[in-house]
């Protein structure tokens, strides 16, 4: 091809391309955001009609939200229900999917009372039937799956059987809580057979709140997984081959696609663009949609659907109504977009999202940005959890209550949280947070509460002296320079030996500046009365390995727990017989052990509360943990777009995954 021809061909190609581009059909523009909003806007309603008897329906329509946009910091990783409540458990999986499946019971809004969901009423008292302890539960009529079929006792029995057959753990309780089997007496009545009488933790706060799946959908899908289980039927359950077969079966189970699975919650799966967003669509047949909920100040929980049904518990509705709202969902869809934290904040400020699901909290910089925007509100709520310092009872002198109390007394939590941490945390003194009013013991002893630094030092020294401790140089109060402790040197234990160097593990400042700062302060306070504490700020995984992982190279460790509504953590975190690895401090106490036995086995809520009060007394005195502080939950949302029926709740909106059911339009 000669040059001229080549030039001509390419020039024609170029001009042609531009012409084609210029002449493209403009009749099929890409849908814009405005277009989509317009299409989904509710129809215009005549104002004269609004004043008529249709008012309640219009009020519902006014609350409707086209889409509730949640920013979250990581993608979901699995949509297989068996995996989701097992090894695939993650907070981001739960934000999107935890509400898909029905449970027999759940916890009420704001006060977290145990209330029936799928169940028609509370479960019957336990009766002994042969070798089993049995309870009977009726199911609500009209509670349907998204495919229109009824949720039945067969579904419940099937779910429990699968969990048992595949030995599923994690957040599945049917097997671990000792359920032998569940019998579907009829489609709306189930009998649960336990091998031993379960306590509140296993029954009310365990099995009864486990998810239920649809038998008709899952049964045919499990055939391959069951083949592996059946092949292992003759093996010794203790053998490695058997364990390998079970784990293989579990792997098959976790890998089964769940596309099109019917659900019975307020929202159902619609779309997942991996790494970008997930969308849930409203389940129009959700059983509780339109239900009115009322909480009374006498403790009564009351819910009803006008002319259809009514349920009352925990009182006689005799007091004043302290919270009243209509159950949703009002959002037609929920879009969960994935951002990093900084981008999520900018997206909220820009009005691109309505709420940020952010378990990491906001640093001062981000908080200032959020507070500076009039359309954004940040609400703070108490966290159901705390940061603590654990003592290692294996190592002297920390097995001595005098040493533990002396160090604990020196820790001035008010000074730490208000002056050092600049109000970023709230002091905590008890095993059960104040925000759990049912379980919290208001009379729990608080060591050295309200004392000055001098009084703390004197109290600690007297305590140690009484216990037989001596110093080469005793700590003294020095009035110079505004008053401070002249540090003690050469602290000796009652047996005459010097107190060895004590290693205090705390997370590094990069992981958690609050706990890192607390670690440094505690080191100083303990050293001031003669304890040779050495604070090591380290990777959080190292702390886990040394404490829960059994590494053992620690004397004191600062960490944190999120807590469950049922406070059996008072047993699990301290006593090996209940918590195994979680009781990493090796604390032992026969009285607490006895109380835990009663607490775990009782089915009487009031008696459990009484026992729980005593346990809190013991733990606040014996101090296997020194409770330090809790950082409040901060929830940021867009005032211009969304509203919630209430904002004050333990754990905040975050604990309710952004209150997806009850959020409504601010317009």
């Amino acid at each position: 091809m000669n040059k001229k021809t080549l030039l001509a061909v390419l020039s024609i190609l170029l001009v042609g391309s531009f012409l084609l581009s210029a002449c493209q059909n403009a009749a099929t523009p890409a849908p814009t955001e405005e277009d989509m909003v317009e299409e989904t806007e509710p129809p215009v309603v005549d104002e004269t009609e609004m004043a008529s008897e249709e008012a309640p329906a219009e009020s519902d329509a006014a609350k409707d939200l086209d889409v509730y946009r949640i920013a979250m910091l990581a993608d979901m990783t699995s949509s297989n229900v068996w995996n989701l409540f097992g090894p695939g458990a993650s907070t981001y999986n739960y934000v999107v999917q935890a509400l898909y499946w029905p449970t027999l019971y759940g916890l009420s809004d704001q006060r977290f009372d145990l209330i029936p969901f799928l169940a028609s009423d509370f479960s019957s008292p336990f009766e002994e039937e042969g070798e089993f302890f049995v309870t009977t539960i009726g199911l609500k009529e009209g509670f349907t799956w998204s495919d229109g079929s009824e949720v039945t006792a067969d579904d419940l029995a099937f779910t429990a059987q699968v969990v048992k057959d595949f030995q599923l753990g994690g957040n599945w309780d049917y097997w671990l809580a000792g359920v032998d089997h569940i019998e579907a007496v009829d489609s709306k009545t189930a009998k649960i057979y336990y091998t031993s009488k379960p306590g509140l933790a296993d029954h009310e706060y365990g099995v009864l709140q486990n998810s239920i799946v649809q038998k008709a959908f899952w049964e045919p899908k499990l055939a391959d997984a069951y083949l592996v289980i059946e092949a292992a039927a003759d093996m010794d359950p203790e053998s490695d081959d058997y364990i390998a077969a079970v784990t293989e079966a579990q792997t098959v189970l976790y890998g089964i696609p769940a596309d099109g699975e019917p659900i019975a919650g307020p929202f159902m799966y619609d779309q997942w663009e991996v790494g970008a967003f997930v969308e849930n669509a409203q389940n129009n047949d959700y059983f509780f949609k339109g239900t009115m909920v009322e909480l009374f100040d006498d403790g009564t929980y009351h819910e009803y659907k006008e002319g259809e049904w009514e349920f009352t518990a925990y009182g006689e509705s005799s007091g004043d109504v302290i919270l009243s709202f209509e159950n949703g969902p009002f959002a037609k869809a929920i879009v969960y977009s994935i951002y990093n934290q900084d981008a999520a904040v900018l997206a909220l400020l820009n009005g691109e999202v309505d709420y940020i699901y952010n378990p990491n909290g906001y640093g001062p910089g981000l908080r200032a940005q959020l507070d500076g925007n009039s359309e954004v509100q940040v609400v703070e709520n108490a966290r159901n959890g705390w940061r603590f310092m654990a003592y290692n009872f294996r190592n002297a002198p920390l097995d001595d209550i005098a040493a533990r109390q002396a160090i604990a007394c020196m820790i001035n939590k008010d000074f730490l949280t208000q002056s050092v941490l600049q109000g970023a945390a709230i002091p905590v003194n008890t095993p059960v947070p104040v925000g759990q009013p049912f379980w919290y013991n208001p009379d729990v002893p608080i060591l050295c509460d309200g004392m000055s630094e001098q009084e703390r030092m004197e109290w600690s020294i007297n305590l140690l002296k009484e216990a037989g401790y001596t110093w080469d140089t005793e700590p003294t109060w020095n009035e110079d320079r505004g008053g401070s402790v002249d540090w003690g040197v050469g602290l000796k234990m009652p047996n005459g030996e010097y107190v060895p160097e004590l290693t205090l593990l705390a997370p590094s400042a990069g992981y958690d500046p609050l706990r890192a700062t607390a670690g440094v302060m505690i080191e100083q306070w303990a050293q001031s009365i003669g304890f040779p504490v050495n604070a090591q700020l380290t990777n959080f995984n190292n702390i886990l390995n040394e404490t829960l992982g059994g590494g053992g190279n620690w004397d004191m460790a600062i960490s944190g727990w999120s807590l469950t509504q049922f406070p059996d953590h008072m047993c699990d975190f301290f006593l090996v017989e209940y918590g195994a690895d979680f009781a990493f401090g090796a604390y032992e106490n026969d009285e607490l052990s006895q109380l835990c036995s009663e607490f775990k086995s009782t089915t009487d809520l009031e008696y459990a509360k009484e026992v729980g009060y005593q346990m809190q007394d013991i733990l606040a005195t014996e101090l296997p943990y020194v409770y330090l502080f809790a950082n409040p939950v901060q929830d940021a949302f867009n005032l211009a777009n969304v509203e919630y029926p209430y904002l004050t709740v333990l754990g905040g909106l975050e604990n309710l995954y952004g209150m997806q059911i009850n959020v409504y339009s601010a317009e």
Binding site: K3, S17, S21, P31, P87, Q271, G275, N340, A343, N545
Partner: protein, 383 residues
């Protein structure tokens, strides 16, 4: 030549095994394992954790796991991700790689072209205001703290000017209800660009012997024409607006990563060009009376091109994993972000799979660079 390639291939295989061994040792030496994540969940009992360790093969000695890993790797099986259990690692890599490829190949091409052109001009205009100012700009951009720079750009273009999206690779409001997945769009976008690049390279080869003016017209016109053609073809499909949305989301991350990375190429090109300009053959070319642009573009720049080209080839595979900062700032779920999350969560198979993938690409790139040398520099002959 064949012998050389074969010998290099064997060397690369040995290097790969050594690379895999070091990788395994380093990642396995991390304290704890994935089950540590469940230490904080009281409902995951020690028995269940042990069951998980058995299921994931973590109960076996390291040496057995190493050989299992190596054997599986040879068969193309990179194992199962712990954090996306039981999803295969290869599946995740294939899902994330196109997104990173789109972003960083675009960045590499733009920053290379920009760096090459400006570096050449800087060397040619030595000791002028142009060179000084570009050197300062280049050094500043090359040493800038990328996360801060990225956030400032987001704040400026995304929040204050509201011109560009502030993160992610798509706008959910456009993609809601769409049947096709973003990865399909990514695949077709990469295909479009690859076809266009192929045509353009053909065009360049065809116009090598033409005169300068005609060549410039055809090449520039051809490039614009190809771009217009791609835009036209996409606009005629039902999903053109989705591709447009992705491109819109790419602008800011590409801009930031280009501004940060082009300076390296520019300064390297300037230095090698300055060296070349001192060579006798350049003086000879001038003495022959050749025009300035011929001396600059044909004699000096082409000879200075070799190290810059090597730098480009070697850097392309690392772009796959090296975009950790950019991908994190812009919430771009590609290979870099995947690697970061895998390491943070001790998802060893996913971390190893990602790094192995990059390792294989890097070694392949070395081989390609070696072979390409022979074509680019006639003085090099392999034996």
């Amino acid at each position: 030549m064949k012998k050389y390639i074969l010998r290099r291939f064997v060397q690369i295989l040995i290097t790969l095994v050594i690379f895999q061994t070091i990788l395994f040792i380093i990642l396995d030496a991390q304290p704890g394992d994935i089950t540590n994540l469940y230490l904080l969940n009281p409902k995951v009992t020690p028995e269940v954790r042990e069951q998980m360790r058995v299921a994931l093969g973590l109960d076996k000695p390291a040496i057995i796991r190493y050989f299992q890993w190596l054997g599986n790797f040879v068969q193309g099986n990179l194992g199962v991700s712990f954090t996306h259990y039981p999803r295969p690692v290869m599946d995740i890599i294939l899902e994330r790689a196109p997104r990173t490829l789109s972003l960083f190949l675009t960045n590499q091409m733009i920053s290379f072209a920009l760096g090459y052109f400006l570096g050449k001009q800087m060397a040619w205009h030595r000791d002028t205001f142009f060179e000084y100012s570009l050197t300062i700009v280049g050094v500043v951009l090359y040493t800038i703290f990328t996360p801060w720079f990225g956030l400032m750009m987001i704040y400026l273009f995304g929040v204050q000017l509201n011109l560009l999206p502030i993160g992610k690779f798509l706008d959910p409001s456009l993609w809601r209800g769409v049947e096709v997945h973003a990865n399909t769009i990514f695949y077709y976008m990469i295909l479009s660009v690859a076809v266009a690049a192929f045509i353009y390279v053909g065009l360049v080869i065809l116009t090598r012997k033409t005169n300068r003016t005609a060549r410039q017209i055809v090449r520039t016109g051809g490039l614009l024409g190809l771009i217009a053609l791609i835009v036209f073809i996409w606009s005629q499909t039902a999903y053109g607006y989705l591709a447009g949305d992705i491109v819109k989301h790419m602008i800011l991350p590409v801009l930031v990563s280009t501004l940060v990375s082009f300076a390296g190429t520019m300064l390297l090109m300037r230095n090698t060009m300055l060296e070349t300009l001192r060579e006798d053959f350049v003086m000879a070319a001038r003495a022959k009376g050749l025009s300035e642009h011929v001396v600059r573009d044909k004699h000096a720049a082409r000879n200075a091109f070799l190290p810059v080209f090597t730098n480009l080839i070697i850097s392309i595979p690392f772009a796959l994993s090296g975009g950790i900062i950019t991908e994190t700032i812009f919430s771009w779920p590609g290979m870099g972000l995947t690697l970061l999350q895998a390491v943070n969560l001790e998802d060893i198979p996913l971390a190893m799979g990602t790094l192995s993938f990059v390792g294989v690409l890097a070694l392949t790139a070395h081989l390609v660079a070696d072979v390409a040398y022979a074509f680019l520099d006639p003085r090099i002959r392999y034996q």
